[in-house]
Symmetry: C2
Subunit: 485 residues, 2 copies
């Protein structure tokens, strides 16, 4: 944030620009001054920055007009949905040169076609609100993540959000049928089809999914909907080791067909952490096991899901793969099991600043990776606590490292930095990804760039220049794009 | 094919270029003269053209060398897999200016990791051979289409192939985890990861899937593998109308969870056509119904698939949605049911030249579209036969039109052209796609271009120029890219 301290003359220029935006777009669309603060703070509240203004359009046409007006002033644009991202993709980093365009006013469901199992929805609708509206129509939108009460669907698309149902339904990319995008020149890419199959050449919409707003602003999305899961069976299982969790997953893939909707692993400390955040949580099962799996099977209609879970567990317990387990017999019990998974995150937050990672490795190497990476951290930083959990079927681990309490912030940050280096070093040997689901944004940019092969860097630059030659769309995010001289 | 008649001096130039390729790449890699004919004829055998040479590299390094050598000679490249495409995407159209690069020698499976449910495979392996190798390892690769005994996996990726299992497993795009691509400058994009989740920014590989070789040559692919479907239940059902087939599909989506692997509709004439090609086929069920559905449920493990099919059919027959049906009780019977679906295509081919379409519409509008499009054709061309069949769950119809026998080729072609115009006219009103799964290639290029919105055209051109500024990669396919002057 090298321009946080804006000089007097710069402030005058900024004021003139705000005035120009107000004239061109209307007062109601433009926020400036203290009203912009909410849009310039990241989700964790760690980073507060600023922007020339925040523009809040109500329609695609207004987004287009805003993009043209901002571009004409020589300013650049930071598109923003719910601003719940974890990598600073929607947080401005140049207070004197950037305008935030917030999609929060574009919340309409343009169409919800039950017979087509599809919906067309504007980018600014909050995910949980959309899920509720779909449910009220008798269908189901499977994207599910911790921030769903605040994140917005356009942000989910721009970050290709993951979550707990990826195993069954894929990342956001696999749920998207079409997109409407305002491009850096203000023109509108209208690709809001709901066709299931459309093989007319290069699939342009794919470029914008996961681009974190660097190629354009997603203004509307058409998505697949599913039959609701009328039956859900949730089980918490105690195992001998993480490697057994991998073996159990492979077994479950076959035994439960494609009906698994979640398969999460957790360490024993998960329960301690969860109860630090939620002391009233009832321990779900007696005993203490080296590894835990939280597993969900779900389906609609004629398959007896509870019976499937029972017969599956019977088999794997007879074979010694699962030592003990508890199956929820009510929705309340199932929620209690999931509360440990969610409470574990809150418990980590309560312990103070710590390293959050979001890495992925090939599924067959998950247990080896966790073992090696934890060993590397524990050997170099024996006072730290490793908490590894995640989505087994996706090869996605959140290997977090908690420094001990009572250190200075400087010392804590140093431990976090060291731990990240150690984990990324091990990750390299496994050909893993430093960002399985959170994206790159500004936070992971330098790590991303340092690992980027030259051919990929060349392609990304060529595409950026082809679509955004003035480099006005979310500069500073993902890559450092140099303007043409 | 305006350069079919190559003049003497042009032939001399061509010979010199072939010689230059031989010197640079080695004799063994370069075919010329009559040996190239096989590579210059389309799958239907309707179109025969020519090429300066055919280059058959054995490795990614040799593909890279070939691309550099061909580019240096000022020639362009037509990448080719099994050459089984239906839209002339891999058939050269400039015999004096193009070199075919065939991937047929790159057939290795580089890695098959059962515990990771993934494989890394070279572009030239024949699909059915790959499927067999995967099956031998105890897993399953779900891509399944008529040409699987000849098509090659690189072509499947480049055309984003569909087929009969899209309903359950998606198009080829959804099966691809990573790609290796030789770019137009000969550099190698190495993205052969098998990570399930990798959200490091823009997903470059998506650009090459469905690009039909216009942005580079796919040389290797990493793909998802699945547990094999140990149980398969196949049923042929008689219904009152196509609209009932749509209603039946919606019911099946709920009742059978995500376990349906095929849901095809066929008209009564399917059986006549199939028996014209295969006279020995036993009629599967008595009676004659206005519409038929061929449905498959499959799974592994603990779900009783036969029982699920029985209970599903009991419900829908009680409700009058299905009038009669037959469930295969053996693999041989199931093959017999599928033989009608496949024989129907052969029967159409035996009746001579006809219009083959491959359109898609929103699922909820499928029956209306077929009814309106058939009515439009029958009213204008009452002597023609409409044969509509396809993949209900994908909204994908092959609405084919067979002119009467005994006409001149010219008159037949005229009827085909008229019928296409009528169908595309109706399709426009349904916001449908002229290519649900076959691609654009050269055959559908003019229809594609005429329906292309300006913003999309601008983006496609910008991306093409960014990645292939010399326009040497499959020019003439998908769009008419003008070289920079």
């Amino acid at each position: 944030m090298d321009r946080e301290d804006v000089s007097g003359s710069e402030r005058g220029v900024a004021d003139a620009r705000v005035e120009a935006l107000r004239v061109r777009l209307g007062n109601d669309l433009v926020l400036s001054g203290p009203a912009t603060e909410h849009y310039c703070r990241d989700w964790h509240g760690d980073i507060t920055t600023g922007a020339v203004a925040v523009v809040r359009p109500r329609s695609t046409a207004e987004v287009s007009a805003a993009v043209k007006a901002i571009g004409a002033l020589g300013l650049s644009i930071v598109p923003q949905g719910g601003n719940t991202g974890l990598v600073l993709g929607a947080t401005p980093d140049d207070p004197a040169g950037q305008v935030v365009i917030s999609l929060e006013r574009m919340t309409a469901i343009r169409r919800l076609d039950v017979d087509d199992f599809s919906a067309v929805v504007e980018a600014g609708i909050v995910l949980s609100e959309f899920k509720d509206r779909v449910e009220a129509a008798g269908l189901y939108f499977p994207l599910a993540l911790g921030a769903q009460g605040s994140c917005r669907i356009g942000g989910n698309v721009s970050t290709n959000a993951g979550g707990i149902n990826v195993l069954r339904y894929g990342m956001t990319r696999e749920l998207v049928l079409g997109l409407e995008v305002v491009l850096p020149d203000g023109s509108v890419f209208d690709g809001l089809s709901t066709l299931r199959k459309d093989n007319r050449g290069i699939d342009l919409k794919q470029l914008f999914i996961g681009a974190e707003g660097t190629l354009g602003i997603v203004t509307a999305v058409s998505v697949k909907l599913m039959p609701p899961a009328e039956q859900v069976a949730t089980a918490l299982l105690g195992l001998n080791a993480l490697s057994d969790a991998i073996a159990l997953y492979r077994r479950a893939r076959r035994d439960c067909c494609d009906l698994m909707s979640a398969f999460e692993f957790m360490p024993p400390v998960a329960f301690t952490l969860a109860r630090e955040a939620m002391p009233d949580l009832a321990m779900p099962m007696p005993g203490d096991y080296p590894a835990y799996v939280l597993m969900e099977i779900s389906g609609s209609g004629l398959v007896d899901i509870d019976d499937l879970m029972q017969r599956f567990l019977q088999g794997v317990m007879e074979d010694g793969l699962v030592l003990d387990g508890v199956v929820a017999v009510s929705r309340a019990q199932a929620r209690n099991l999931w509360a440990f998974r969610e409470g574990m995150n809150e418990g980590q937050a309560k312990r103070g600043p710590h390293l959050r990672t979001d890495v992925s490795v090939p599924l067959s190497k998950l247990a080896d990776f966790v073992q090696q990476a934890e060993a590397a951290v524990m050997s170099a930083l024996p006072d730290c606590l490793c908490v590894s959990y995640g989505h087994v079927g996706d090869g996605n681990v959140h290997l977090n490292v908690l420094p001990p309490a009572g250190l200075t912030r400087e010392k804590t940050d140093q431990l976090i930095y060291q731990a990240k280096g150690l984990i990324n070093g091990v990750l390299l040997g496994f050909c893993g990804s430093i960002s399985a689901e959170h994206g790159i944004g500004r936070l992971k940019k330098s790590d991303f760039i340092s690992g980027l092969p030259q051919t990929q860097a060349h392609l990304l630059n060529a595409i950026k220049r082809a679509i955004d030659p003035r480099i006005i769309m979310n500069p500073g995010c993902q890559l450092n794009f140099a303007k043409d001289s």
